[in-house]
Amino acid sequence: MSDVRNLPAELTIYAVRDAAEQGLGWLSQLDADAGDAPLQIAADGVEEVDAAGVQLLIALSRSLAARGRRLQLLQPSPVLQRALACLGAAALLGDAAPAASETAA
């Protein structure tokens, strides 16, 4: 769990396939661990996002929910925050994890 999980700068239709692979990788890593700690992902680097990107995050959060876990986006970039709000997916921002909570990992 030492490796840093980052969302790519481009979270759009052009990159969602790769991002989905990455997400599946994170999920299998989680499966190795017991417990219900949230999946924390640094989201401050997201520069571009579209509805396909938002949908990917929703799918990830659904997978996590199935495991009794949840998604925690760390320091979501303004672009991402706006996109999630606009599409009614603000719930993903959750308790919009402040930088301090990074220690929880």
Partner: protein, 721 residues
């Protein structure tokens, strides 16, 4: 919108008015569009154009004419883009709109008939093209915010708060569409609230194809514009995903009401108010069109209703005019009797009545007067389409469109005019390259003008084309046997040959004109209106058709003269002066033609007695009435001058219809019949050297002269064509 039977009755009653009004709007639409072709950036006209479509759609909705509404909606959408400057009016677009306008006209005309598959298919094809045209105005997220106050009725329901729900299809992402961009665009229109994305519709990551769209979004949009938003404006955001998206848009409040509760009562009330307003407009549409010379002013009005109008059926007017005719005759009889009594009081009373009758006559006839400009304006489209078809570049100029004449005349002159205009386009004006080769500007000019001239209306159709070649005309006339081979008639008669039946000089017969069936029909139509047509032409410079028409078919001011026992009436406007004839100076030939010296000019004179073979002694002191006949003046030798006379024109009976030089008859107060002289035609008889025109033709001799009211005084020998 009418379950109530009395509403249905009302609508059935109003429907003809709607159709008439819709036709006016459609005509105005066409005019505006054609005017816009010259000035594509004229916002007033664009607005007026939009209003035309909008009015048709609005009132069609009122009558439940769904086809009209549905189709016009697409036109309106396109016009809206034009109005907002998101599209430019290109010739292609203009043609598309003209075709759409034609379709609207057809839809209105067939509104009550069931739809047929062919026209439905044609309509759908047009709708597709309209939508494509709309698509060219890519919104690219920068469409300006909602216009604050657009026309608001039924079609574009406005509200400040809308609920929007969109379920996007699986292919949306792969088609390059981004729902996020759509929702961000909506944020330009207002505030998005209560946004919700149905997470449960999105599969878990393990089962997700990241490029397939599973998004179902909903939100409430609080409009930022004070006037609220229309459904169309929201709908517009989804334009590019419309086929791949289940969209529902519902208003959450009444029009522009701050109340967030959906208020059905409020909406219903607004609809009723709008319906009442539309009905009010329907009841007082423009009966008399605005002067068409003032087309720009008219355009501003977009179907003016200034001053208020009453729509009256033409039959009722005709009834009044018929009665008036009787009144005029009866009045003239009373005046004559009064004069015979030599009682001053009675004579004066009668004069007053006569003046009043004259006033009523003038006002009544004015009721029937319409400007010819509306008819002219129709030719814009004809010229545009025909020129395009022929590959010619032609500019149409309209002069004197506000010249008024009787509605019946206007209606009946439209077809002959159409033929002449097409002829000018087809035969007269050359193709651009031929024009340039001839040293003329590439664009041809066609001028339609109208003006008043001595009590007639003069309509000119002027082109700067190749003109008419006299030798070609003559050769054709020889070929067709219209003129004996080798005989060369005088200059001005050569051109008149083209009005002879079966004449055509077109080397290439097109489907527009040139079948040789037209010009003689044109002439007879014009002559049936008591009008005349003249043609002048200069080779290489162009041709000019001059049509003279009476202002009205009903009543004229006449100048009554006597020849023997016969009475003739000249239209007063045609009379220039009266001179006394000195028998020693005037010699007429046996056709009744001669000349006198009028202040140094040679004046041709016609002797009606000789011309019509009237058998009465010549008067001791005859007079010559000088009348205008086309461009010339003509003297008419008469026995006595009987003064001004209000003349109700009665048509000649079938027997006398082909009588040359006579336009109609009238019944005098005394019960006598007077013949109304057609000065123009008389001029042609006087100028004609062809004896055939005045020679008696045995087979046309009347066999039963007693059937003619004035048979004692009139022989038609030698006066038939």
């Amino acid at each position: 919108m009418s379950q109530n039977p009395s509403d249905d009755d009302l609508i059935a009653e109003m429907l003809p008015a709607f159709i008439e009004e819709a036709n006016e709007q459609v005509a105005a639409f066409e005019q505006l569009l054609l005017e816009l072709e010259d000035r594509p950036d004229d916002h007033e006209r664009l607005d007026a154009l939009f209003r035309c479509a909008h009015t048709v759609k609005g009132s069609a909705g009122l009558f439940g004419l769904d086809r009209v509404v549905a189709f016009t909606h697409h036109v309106e959408t396109l016009l809206d883009l034009l109005r907002d400057g998101l599209l430019a009016l290109t010739p292609t677009l203009s043609t598309l709109l003209l075709q759409s306008n034609d379709t609207i006209r057809d839809l209105v005309a067939t509104a009550q008939l069931p739809d047929d598959a062919a026209s439905q298919a044609a309509r759908e094809a047009l709708v597709l093209r309209l939508q494509q045209a709309c698509g060219e105005a890519a919104p690219s997220g920068t469409r300006r915010a909602a216009p604050a106050a657009a026309p608001a009725f039924g079609t574009s329901q406005r509200a400040t708060r809308w609920r929007i729900a969109a379920a996007f299809g699986p292919e949306v992402f792969r088609n390059g569409m981004d729902p996020l961009a759509i929702f961000q665009y909506l944020e330009d229109l207002g505030r998005l609230e209560a946004g919700h994305c149905a997470f449960e519709q999105v599969p878990e990551l393990e089962r997700l194809d990241a490029e397939t769209c599973h998004l179902r979004l909903s939100a409430e949009l609080q409009a930022s514009a004070p006037g609220g938003l229309s459904r169309e404006e929201i709908d517009h955001a989804f334009e590019f995903v419309r086929d791949d998206c289940e969209l529902s848009i519902e208003a959450l409040d009444g029009p522009a009401s701050a109340d967030a509760e959906p208020s059905a009562a409020l909406q219903a009330q607004a609809q009723v108010q709008a319906a009442v307003a539309e009905l009010r407009d329907l009841i007082k549409p423009s009966a008399a069109p605005a002067p068409a010379g003032a087309a720009p002013a008219r355009a501003k009005e977009g179907g003016s209703d200034e001053g208020g109008y009453i729509r009256v059926h033409a039959n009722r007017l005709d009834e009044v005019i018929n009665l008036l005719g009787e009144l005029v005759i009866a009045g003239a009889g009373a005046s004559q009797l009064a004069r015979q009594t030599r009682q001053r009081g009675l004579i004066e009373a009668n004069q007053r009545i006569s003046r009043l009758i004259e006033g009523i006559r003038n006002s009544t006839l004015k009721l029937r007067m319409v400007p010819i400009g509306d008819t002219f304006a129709r030719f814009r489209r004809v010229v545009r389409d025909t020129a395009a078809e022929l590959g010619k570049d032609v500019a149409l100029e309209i002069v004197g469109g506000d010249t008024e004449l009787d509605k019946a005349v206007v209606e009946r002159i439209a077809d002959p005019l159409m033929h002449l205009v097409r002829n000018a386009l087809d035969h007269g004006l050359e193709k651009a390259e031929d024009r340039l080769a001839a040293g003329k500007p590439a664009q041809g000019r066609l001028t339609l003008s109208a003006c008043h001239e001595s009590g007639m209306v003069l309509i000119r159709i002027l082109d700067d084309g190749r003109g008419i070649q006299r030798d070609k005309v003559l050769q054709r006339a020889w070929q067709r046997g219209l003129v004996p081979e080798g005989v060369v008639p005088p200059e001005d008669e050569v051109l008149r040959l083209i009005f002879e039946p079966g004449f055509s000089t077109a080397e290439q017969v097109t489907n527009l004109s040139g079948r040789g069936v037209g010009m003689d029909v044109v002439r007879s139509n014009i002559e049936a209106l008591r009008g005349s047509i003249q043609i002048t032409s200069e080779v290489g410079r162009g041709s000019c058709m001059e049509i003279r028409l009476p202002l009205t078919l009903a009543i004229i001011d006449g100048f009554l003269v006597g020849v023997g026992h016969s009475r003739f009436i000249f239209p007063l406007e045609a009379v220039v002066e009266v001179i006394s004839a000195r028998p020693d100076q005037l010699v007429v030939d046996h056709h009744g033609r001669g000349c006198v010296d009028l202040r140094g000019r040679l004046l041709p004179v016609v002797d009606l007695r000789r011309l019509y073979g009237l058998d009465a002694m010549a008067a001791e002191r005859p007079s010559i009435v000088v009348v205008r006949a086309g461009h010339r003046q003509l003297g008419v030798l008469v026995d006595s001058l009987l003064g001004q006379h209000q003349t109700v024109i009665k048509p000649l009976g079938r027997l006398l219809r082909s009588l040359r030089g006579i336009a109609g008859s009238s019944i005098l107060g005394s019960g006598e019949v007077a013949l109304i002289v057609d000065a123009d035609a008389l001029g042609h008889i006087a100028a004609s050297s062809r004896h055939a025109t005045v020679q008696p033709a045995a087979e046309t001799r009347l066999t039963d002269p007693t059937r003619v009211p004035t048979a004692d005084a009139l022989s038609v020998e030698g006066t038939r064509r």
